[in-house]
């Protein structure tokens, strides 16, 4: 590590501090995520607002390091799961294609979950109803690079009229994953697509 590296990192941190995203508590009941996916929930969730991600939303119940629920809604042909800026040209951004199969979508999610060098393992992939479609459900585990915490995750996905809808929950495998799993399953089961207005 030298100063050539440290200075840009410090500048990036400063830039990130100027427009902070904030956590906002959600009222129990139905919420429409990114205007495209309606879900019912039990109220014990907070949503990160101010992220400038029109098709990606993050929720948490006990706080971000302990659990995170990601919604990716209405991802169209050629789009990535999250907004990617200034990616080096030699590292192509993984993009959604509407002819993707379930395994391809898992790999798309995996590339998002491992961009920091984390280790991702797919544990199970099976057909499942989701968002009014014959979609799929997958389970995964991950060793988070940042803190080397071992996590577990579950995700539901479906391609609806050529657009991808994906809900993924992840938490440390000790305690927190099992604690929230039934709530996440119920939330995923309640999901319905809102057509574009």
């Amino acid at each position: 590590m030298n100063l050539k590296v440290l200075v840009p990192v410090a500048l990036l941190l400063l830039a990130a501090c100027t427009k902070p995203a904030t956590w906002v508590g959600l009222a129990q009941g139905e919420v429409v995520v990114c205007e495209r996916l309606a879900v019912r929930h039990d109220g014990a969730w907070s949503r990160l607002e101010g992220t400038r991600e029109p098709k990606h939303e993050v929720w948490t119940s006990d706080g971000m390091p302990l659990d995170q629920l990601h919604f990716h809604t209405g991802i169209a042909e050629g789009e990535s799961l999250v907004v990617v800026k200034d990616r080096p040209a030699d590292k192509p951004i993984p993009r959604f294609r509407k002819d993707m199969q379930a395994q391809d979508v898992v790999e798309l999610y995996e590339s998002f979950a491992t961009q920091d060098g984390s280790v991702f393992t797919l544990e199970k992939l099976a057909p499942a109803r989701f968002a009014d479609e014959d979609g799929f459900r997958f389970e995964f585990s991950r060793v988070r690079k940042r803190d080397e915490v071992r996590t577990r995750g579950v995700a539901y996905g479906a391609i609806h009229r050529g657009e991808l809808f994906l809900v993924a929950f992840e938490a440390p495998r000790i305690h927190y994953f099992a604690k929230h799993l039934p709530r996440v399953e119920a939330l995923a089961q309640s999901a319905h697509v809102r057509e574009k207005g």
Partner: protein
């Protein structure tokens, strides 16, 4: 921290002339006074080493670790008891050595070495830094000390792989250090019975990978930290080769089979790690080389197909299919090659071929995590 390491070059034609006639490794390094700056550095590294023991990225396969440690010992000779080798699961080409004798060899390096001699070339170079105590010299250099202080201040969670990379990167060796370590590495290789010429081949292969990146600009220093502190890379490769040729010993056995056998049980997992870097230019160059070296290598051929499929550029689907089909007919290809073919057939609407390929996958992996998903495709495809 992806990068730092290894090759400097010999600034002259004969290694012995530079190191002095009859160069021999120094006496064993004693633990420094804890109150000295060197002692403080050792204490910091001792703590990192304790944490490394807990890391999920540490390879714990006893046979694999013993294999690498044996290479280290062959090179380090009398210093062997002071050097502890750790194999770290990370797909980047890297090895580093802390002043207290903690050596890390990353799996991305082991995957890329064509033979044991090439692995020994990199380990020998790192041992060179250790024997010459370059990290202490770096620490005493004012510029590095300032960077080192910053580094210690910003490590987010000490003991993680990321932090260890930062620690390794803090020893910003000068060009002179790199050249000296390289010369010692060649000497140690020759003394241990490895052909020194293999050192320049490691370099040539790595350079070929980086050059293969799609948007290659012609300036290697922009591609990788590896090149940042080194003289022009082509010249370096040539000089290293010349130095090795001057030493002779080209007929020594590079021990190709020994390395292949040692990494065999892990190669597949490491190739998967490699593709997850999403540096497809580099991965395709690596896999192209592996399939050229051994055209009967079904495993490499399967992963070549995977690299094309994941890159998904114009024409890559056809290239992937060709590689998969070649792999499916070769020994060593994993059953997943049939799943990959099944998916291509399914997308193209070739249902009989899809059914046959998926059936072969399920027959080999009935308990696969995605078996239920594949069965649902077969049901719908009936």
């Amino acid at each position: 921290m992806e990068r730092r390491t290894f090759i400097g070059t010999c600034g002259c034609c004969a290694v012995s002339a530079l190191l002095g006639e009859g160069w021999a490794p120094p006496a064993r390094i004693q633990r420094p006074d804890p109150k000295s700056d060197e002692g403080g550095l050792w204490a910091l590294m001792d703590r990192e080493e304790e944490r490394l023991h807990q890391s999920p990225f540490l390879m714990r396969d006893a046979a694999l670790v013993a294999y690498v440690q044996a290479i280290t010992c062959r090179l380090a000779q009398g210093h062997c008891p002071n050097v502890r080798t750790y194999v770290v699961r990370s797909p980047y080409f890297n090895a580093n050595m802390a002043p207290n004798g903690m050596m890390q060899v990353w799996t991305g390096l082991m995957l890329r070495a064509e033979n044991e001699a090439q692995l020994a070339a990199v380990i020998g170079h790192e041992i060179g830094h250790y024997l010459a105590r370059h990290s202490v010299e770096s620490l005493r250099d004012a510029k590095s000390r300032s960077a080192f202080a910053h580094m210690v201040g910003i490590i987010p969670v000490a003991g993680t792989l990321a932090a260890l990379g930062l620690v390794a990167g803090a020893f910003a060796y000068s060009r002179e250090h790199e050249r000296a370590a390289d010369r010692m590495g060649l000497e140690l290789m020759a003394a241990a019975g490895y052909p020194p010429l293999e050192a320049s081949r490691v370099w040539a292969n790595l350079l070929a990978e980086l050059q293969a990146e799609k948007d290659w600009t012609g300036d290697a220093s922009k591609r990788s930290v590896l090149f940042a502190t080194h003289p022009p890379e082509k010249e370096r490769e040539a000089k290293l080769e010349a130095a090795a040729r001057a030493m002779g010993k080209e007929d020594l056995d590079p021990r190709t089979g020994a390395l292949r056998q040692a990494i065999g049980p892990w190669r597949r997992a490491w190739l998967e790690d490699e593709l997850k870097r999403r540096k497809f230019g580099e991965s395709l160059a690596l896999l192209g080389r592996l399939t050229r070296v051994d055209p009967q290598d079904g495993e490499a051929s399967y992963f070549l197909g995977e690299a094309y499929r994941l890159r998904a550029a114009e024409g890559d689907t056809d290239r992937a299919q060709e590689a998969y089909q070649r792999a499916a007919a070769l020994p060593g290809a994993p059953p997943e090659v049939h799943r990959a073919l099944g998916s291509l057939h399914r997308k193209a609407g070739r249902l009989p071929e899809m059914r046959e390929a998926y059936a072969r996958y399920l027959a080999a992996r009935p308990e696969a995590g995605d078996a239920e998903m594949i069965r649902s495709y077969l049901k719908k495809g009936e």
